[in-house]
Amino acid sequence: MSDVIANIPVNYYVFFATALFCIGVVGVLTRRNSLIVFMSVEIMLNAVNVLFVAFSSYKSDPAGQVFVFFIMAVAAAEVAVGLAIIVMIYRNLRTVDTGALNHLKW
C-alpha cells in the first residue's frame, strides 16, 4: 500500500488540492447559507493541508507537516468563534441566510 502512495507523482496531489480549493472558492462565492459558506472555507483549508502534506513528504522536510498542525489548531479556533457568531445571528434574526444581512448599507 505504501508503495502505491509513494508512486503517485506529486503533480496529482497538486491537481487534487487545487480542485478541492476551487470547489471551496466556488462554494464561498455562490452559496447563500452562511453555514455552507463556512463549510466551503473549511474545504479550502483542508485542500491546503493536503498540499502541505504532499509537498512535505515529497521534499522529505517535516516543517510542512508541522504547519498542518498549526492550521488544524487555528481552524478549530475559527470554528468555535464562527459557529458562535452564526448562533448569535440566528438568535436575533431567526435565519442564517446571507441575504438577510442587509442592515449595513450606504
Binding site: 497538486v14 485542500a47 491546503v48 498540499l51 498549526f70 457568531i85 436575533n92 446571507t98 442592515h103
Partner: protein, 534 residues
C-alpha cells in the same frame, strides 16, 4: 433570558453595599500581594540567571518572545481581574500592562535586558529595529485607545475585562505579524489578530448591525486566510522551507519564468494580506464591518490591524523585490500592485465623498490611507520607504484614534453616526471640536500636522523609485480627501445645531490631548520620531 452571570456581583452590590466593601479591599490586597511576589520572582530570575535552567528560561525570552509572553500573561491576568467588583481597576491594569510591554519591547531591542543572539528561538522571530518600531506604534496606539472605553465600565451588559484581554491577545498577533522570520509565525499572527477581532466586532450581542458586521468580517476574513494559506503552500512547494532566509536565497537564485509556482504562491499570499489591510479590489467588507462594529473596536481595527498588515506586507514584499537580491522579480509584480494602489486611492477617496455617516466616511478614508501606505511599500527603497511607512502609520493611527474618540463622545448611545450630530459643536464643546479639527487636518495632510509629513515622505519615496504617475494620482486623490475631511469641520463651526451639549469623559479628554499634541509635535518636528528609531 437570564442575565449573564458576570453581572451578579453588580446586582448584589446594590443590595448590600456595606457588606461587600471589605471583601473588595481584600481582593485588592490579595492581588497586590500576588503581583508583588511575581515581580520579586521575575527580578530574581533575571538577576541570577547564571544557572543552566535559568539560562534556558532566559533564552525563551530572546527575540521578541518576552513582549509576546508578557502580553499573553497580562491578558490572562486581565480575565481574572474581571472578577473584581471595581471595574476601574481593569482599565488601569490593562493600560499599565500595555505600558510595561511597550517599555520591555523597547529595552529588548537595545539589548539591555538580554543579550542578542540570532541562533536562538529557531529563528522564528526577528528583533530588529523595524519590527520594534512597528511594535512601538501599535502599543502606543493601544495605550491611546484604552482610555476611550470608559463607557463600558458603567454598562452592565458589557464585559470590559474580557474586551481588554482580547485586545491584548490580538496585540500578540499584531506583534507576531510585524516580526516574523518564518511563514508559520506570519500565519499564526494573522489568525490570532483576526479571530480576536471577529469576537470583538460581534461583542454588541443584541445589536443586529454588530452581528451582521461580525459574520461578514468572519466569512471574508477566513476566506482570505484560505487564499493566504494556499499561497504559502505553493511557495513551500517551490522553496521547500518556510524561513525568510530560504525564500530570499530562492528568489535571488531563480528567475520568475523558471518558477511559476513560487510566483503564483507569492501572488496569492499578497492577495491574502491585501484582504487584511483592505486594499481596493478586496476592500468590500471594510465599510460594513467598520460601521457595524462598536466604535472602540473600529478604532482598533482601523489603526492597529492596518499597521500590522502593512508591516507584514512590507516584510513579505521585501523578500521578493529588494534590490539587488530579488531584482529580477520586482518587474514581474510591481505593475499589479501599482494598479491595486491606484484603485485603492480612487475608490477609497471618491466613495468617501458620498457618505452621510461619519463612521463610514472614516472607513473609506481608512481604505484610502491603506492606498498611500501601499504606495510606499511599492517604492521599496530600503531607507526612505521604511521611514515613510513608519512615520505614516504613527501619524495616521494617532489622528484616527482622536477622530474616533471625538465620534464616540458625540454619537454617545445613538446607533447612527451622521454628520448632523457635529452641527454646532464648535459652540457647545469647543475643546472637542478643536481636537476633531486637528485630527481631520492631519488626515487630510495639511501642513503643520503629522499627516502632511507622512504624505510628503511617502511621495518622496515613490519619487525616488521613479513611479511618477503614481505620485500624480495620489496628489489628486489627496485633494479629493480634503473635501470630505473639511465637511466635518464646516459642520462643526459653520452650521447651527440644536444638539444637546456633549459630555466628555476624562479618559477621552486625556486621549484627545495626547493624540493632538503628538500630531502637532510630529507635524512641527518630524525628525523627532525618525531619529528616535531609525
Amino acid at each position: 433570558m437570564p442575565p449573564p452571570t458576570k453581572n451578579c456581583p453588580v446586582a448584589v452590590k446594590n443590595n448590600h453595599v456595606q457588606n461587600i466593601k471589605p471583601a473588595s479591599f481584600l481582593d485588592l490586597r490579595v492581588l497586590f500581594f500576588i503581583l508583588q511576589k511575581a515581580i520579586i520572582i521575575l527580578s530574581k530570575l533575571l538577576a541570577f540567571s547564571k544557572k543552566s535552567y535559568l539560562c534556558k528560561l532566559r533564552n525563551i525570552f530572546h527575540q521578541k518572545m518576552l513582549s509576546l509572553i508578557l502580553l499573553s500573561v497580562f491578558g490572562i491576568t486581565n480575565l481574572f481581574l474581571g472578577f473584581l467588583r471595581q471595574r476601574n481597576i481593569v482599565l488601569f491594569a490593562s493600560m499599565a500592562f500595555t505600558f510595561i510591554t511597550l517599555v520591555v519591547s523597547w529595552l529588548d531591542m537595545n539589548g539591555t535586558l538580554i543579550t542578542f543572539d540570532a541562533s536562538l528561538n529557531g529563528g522564528m522571530m526577528a528583533n530588529d529595529k523595524l519590527s520594534t518600531s512597528f511594535a512601538f506604534v501599535m502599543l502606543l496606539t493601544a495605550l491611546l485607545i484604552f482610555p476611550l472605553s470608559t463607557h463600558y465600565l458603567k454598562d452592565k451588559e458589557a464585559q470590559p475585562a474580557e474586551y481588554y484581554a482580547i485586545l491584548m491577545f490580538s496585540l500578540v498577533g499584531a506583534l507576531m505579524m510585524v516580526s516574523y522570520k518564518n511563514l508559520i509565525m506570519l500565519f499564526v499572527g494573522v489568525e490570532i489578530l483576526s479571530i480576536s477581532m471577529y469576537v470583538l466586532t460581534g461583542s454588541d450581542k443584541h445589536n443586529v448591525k454588530s452581528n451582521e458586521a461580525a459574520l461578514k468580517y468572519f466569512l471574508m476574513g477566513s476566506f482570505a486566510t484560505g487564499i493566504l494559506l494556499f499561497g504559502m503552500a505553493l511557495l513551500y512547494g517551490a522553496v521547500g522551507a518556510f524561513t525568510t532566509e530560504a525564500i530570499q536565497t530562492y528568489v535571488s537564485a531563480n528567475k520568475v519564468v523558471d518558477s511559476p509556482m513560487a510566483f503564483l504562491g507569492f501572488s496569492m499570499m499578497l492577495i491574502g494580506i491585501l484582504f487584511k489591510i483592505s486594499a481596493a479590489p478586496f476592500h468590500f467588507w471594510t465599510p460594513d464591518v467598520y460601521e457595524g462594529a462598536p466604535s472602540l473596536f473600529t478604532a482598533f481595527m482601523s489603526t492597529i490591524v492596518k499597521t500590522a498588515g502593512i508591516g507584514a506586507t512590507l516584510k513579505f514584499v521585501t523578500l521578493f523585490g529588494f534590490i539587488p537580491l530579488g531584482a529580477s522579480w520586482y518587474p514581474a509584480w510591481y505593475k499589479g500592485v501599482a494598479i491595486v494602489v491606484i484603485l485603492t486611492l480612487a475608490i477609497g477617496n471618491i466613495t468617501a465623498v458620498y457618505q452621510s455617516s461619519f463612521k463610514r466616511m472614516l472607513a473609506y478614508s481608512g481604505i484610502s490611507h491603506a492606498g498611500y501606505l501601499l504606495m510606499a511599500v511599492l517604492a521599496l527603497s530600503p531607507v526612505s520607504s521604511v521611514k515613510a511607512i513608519l512615520f505614516y502609520t504613527l501619524a495616521y493611527s494617532v489622528a484616527t484614534v482622536a477622530a474616533f474618540g471625538g465620534l464616540m463622545a458625540v454619537a454617545g448611545n445613538k446607533r447612527k453616526e451622521e454628520y448632523a450630530y457635529f452641527n454646532g459643536l464648535g459652540k457647545t464643546n469647543p475643546f472637542l471640536a478643536l481636537s476633531i479639527t486637528i485630527s481631520m487636518l492631519s488626515l487630510a495632510g495639511i501642513p503643520l500636522t503629522a499627516g502632511f509629513f507622512g504624505k510628503l515622505f511617502v511621495f518622496l519615496s515613490v519619487f525616488e523609485r521613479g513611479l511618477y504617475f503614481l505620485v500624480v494620482v495620489a496628489v489628486l486623490m489627496a485633494a479629493v480627501g480634503v473635501y470630505y475631511y473639511f465637511r466635518v469641520i464646516i459642520a462643526m463651526y459653520m452650521r447651527e445645531g440644536n444638539n444637546e451639549p456633549v459630555q466628555v469623559s476624562s479618559g477621552t479628554i486625556a486621549t484627545l490631548l495626547i493624540a493632538n499634541i503628538l500630531t502637532i509635535a510630529l507635524g512641527i518636528a518630524p525628525d523627532l520620531w525618525l531619529n528616535w528609531f531609525m
